[in-house]
């Protein structure tokens, strides 16, 4: 073979090697992002359940007025029930989580919080609820950050052409109202190891 053919062969081999390296490392990156999203969904799920549990406990404590208690207890119960078989990116579940947020928002105005806090048991319940609200908010943010990174990588042309994401579904964000009730925002976030 002539020198030119050799050069061509070497060029093709190098290009192929580069392509294989790119594909392998990008597939690795994607796999890692997909796993990160998996765990983030589970982490969010755990924090959302913790939040509804805390809300329910507060509602059943007798420290809220009966109407607010019923409102919060109902919303929290529905959300926990949906948690049995729906993840935090399922619209039907997140709808119910938003409902919990709204119920808490309505039941826990600044004055309500002040009154509940006067009771030592109430203060503990509020702290737990606030800690759970903050953690759910953070977990949602971290999940959506992972989804954004994954979508960005998956929309690259080469990734699409080479089908590097395989059959993994297009990642979904978790969209719902996770605001911490304004009455609770004044407390400092407590945590324990």
């Amino acid at each position: 073979m002539s020198g030119q053919t050799w050069a061509l062969v070497i060029g093709v081999v190098v290009a192929l090697a580069l392509l294989v390296f790119y594909a392998s490392s990008t597939a690795g990156r994607l796999d890692r992002l997909h796993r990160r999203i998996d765990t983030a969904v589970l982490a969010l799920d755990a924090q959302a359940l913790r939040r509804s549990a805390a809300a329910q406990e507060l509602a059943l404590s007798g420290l809220l007025d009966p109407a607010s208690a019923l409102l919060v207890a109902q919303a929290a119960h529905d959300a926990r029930e949906a948690g049995d078989d729906r993840t935090m990116i399922d619209v039907q579940r997140t709808q119910l989580e938003s409902d919990v947020t709204r119920a808490l928002q309505a039941a826990l105005t600044a004055e309500d919080v002040e009154e509940i806090r006067a009771d030592p048991a109430g203060a503990v319940l509020l702290e737990e609820l606030q800690a759970a609200c903050i953690r759910a908010q953070l977990a949602r943010r971290f999940l959506n950050d992972g989804v954004r990174a994954c979508r960005q990588l998956r929309s690259q042309r080469l990734v699409r052409w080479m089908r590097l994401a395989g059959r993994t579904p297009w990642p979904q964000t978790s969209d719902w109202d996770d605001e911490v009730p304004t009455g609770l925002a004044v407390l400092s976030a407590q945590g324990s190891p």
Binding site: D31, A43, A149
Partner: protein, 397 residues
């Protein structure tokens, strides 16, 4: 809960990131967390038991100054060993892109990883670190924290990703009830300046420009300058004209600095820029010193828009003189600023800050999860053996 903290800079050299990691580790330990810090060390025999030796640092130019970093094959092996033996619930990496133990930890660990971004880097510096390295490191981290809006912007704009804003903390109790400093004459009004003398961004020139006018109104006022550096010739003439009213104390340790602040009538921060947070303002407020500061965005934020301290137009000596004269001459204003400052400092107390940090720890992991060694990138990590694309519980069907 077992937490591993990674500090990229030498443990035996003072610095912002290093003291952040130190204070975070102390406060977490007080709260019952098991903490292990991985940091480079010049002299491993001097390390406290909770600091793991990350190897001898090498002085290299980085980020505009000389930093003491650990890298290379040996450092990488140490990081892997620390992660294997640590069995951590969370590993918290500081300054993840610094070419030291932090970046190595990003590569060799997987699981619940949290990172804190400290400095604001410009785009060219991030890119020079290698875009793909930055990207991969950022992708592996589950929760990003930024200590300032500027640091957050670095991440959002240049690397891509979202970060939770958790400001730097000050251990407020270290500044409470500090004795008055024997170095300070408390008979007349005392103005205190902290920072390098020959660093223009610390703004000593602006303060010297205002000092003559302050002296006219308050002849017994004294200016105490704490910080290293040599006077430059243009400053020397100003200083000699003002005579003994300016006292240079040189570099002081933290405790002596705290008591000088506690003895101050006014703490003055005439910085001309380059401050992304303004931790020194919080320290002054925690020590009970009324603050007069330039209106840099970071300072204005710390002082709650001027409610907890007096702001003046950055670089304007005339305005600074007016502000200093107003505070020195008004005892009631002083006590109001002092009270507001003490209250404000609490918002930046490590006890408050650490609660936010632990909330991040809790929200990045699922029960039972541990940080483990990441073998991808090693040959063994590329071998097949597990299904790469299992069916996901999430996503569109």
């Amino acid at each position: 809960m077992k937490v591993g903290l990674v500090c990229p800079y030498a443990w035996d050299v003072p610095g912002g990131v290093r003291s952040h990691v130190h204070d975070l580790a102390l406060t977490l330990t007080e709260r019952g967390y098991q903490v292990s810090v991985l940091a480079p060390a010049e002299d491993p025999s001097n390390l406290p038991p909770w600091v793991h030796d990350g190897g001898r640092p090498i002085a290299v130019p980085y980020n505009g100054s000389v930093a003491r970093l650990s890298f290379g094959v040996k450092a990488a092996a140490r990081v892997r060993g620390w992660i294997r033996s640590g069995d951590f619930d969370v590993v918290h990496i500081h300054e993840p892109l610094s070419p030291s133990l932090s970046l190595l930890a990003c590569w060799s660990a997987q699981g619940p990883l949290v990172a804190t971004w400290h400095s604001a880097l410009d785009r060219s510096r991030v890119l020079s670190a290698g875009y793909s390295i930055a990207q991969t490191a950022a992708e592996k981290i589950r929760g990003h924290i930024a200590v300032s809006e500027d640091a957050r912007r670095t991440l959002v704009a240049h690397v891509g990703g979202d970060a939770v804003l958790i400001p730097n903390g000050v251990r407020v109790e270290d500044y409470r009830d500090v004795p008055l400093s024997p170095l300070v004459d408390t008979r007349g009004p005392r103005v205190v300046f902290l920072g390098r003398i020959d660093e223009p961004r610390k703004g000593l020139d602006v303060l010297l420009g205002a000092w003559g006018s302050v002296r006219e109104a308050h002849p017994d006022a004294r200016l105490y300058v704490v910080g290293p550096g040599e006077l430059e010739s243009r400053q020397e003439s100003v200083v000699s004209a003002l005579g003994e009213s300016i006292i240079f104390l040189g570099r002081l340790d933290d405790a002596a600095k705290a008591s000088v602040l506690a003895s101050a009538t006014v703490y003055c921060a005439p910085h001309a820029g380059g401050e992304s947070f303004g931790i020194v303002l919080v320290e002054a407020m925690a020590a009970g010193a009324p603050v007069v500061a330039s209106d840099l965005p970071a300072f204005s934020r710390v002082l709650d828009g001027g409610a907890c301290g007096r702001l003046f137009a950055t670089g304007d000596s005339e305005q600074l003189a007016l502000a200093l004269r107003a505070v020195i001459g008004d005892l009631e204003l002083q006590s109001r600023l002092r009270t507001a400052g003490l209250l404000r400092a609490k918002a930046f107390d490590w006890q408050t800050v650490v609660a936010d940090v632990t909330a991040v720890y809790d929200s990045v992991s699922i029960p039972g999860e541990r940080v483990v060694e990441d073998l991808r990138g090693q040959v063994v990590g590329r071998l097949p053996g597990r299904s790469l694309y299992a069916r996901r519980p999430w996503g569109r069907r």
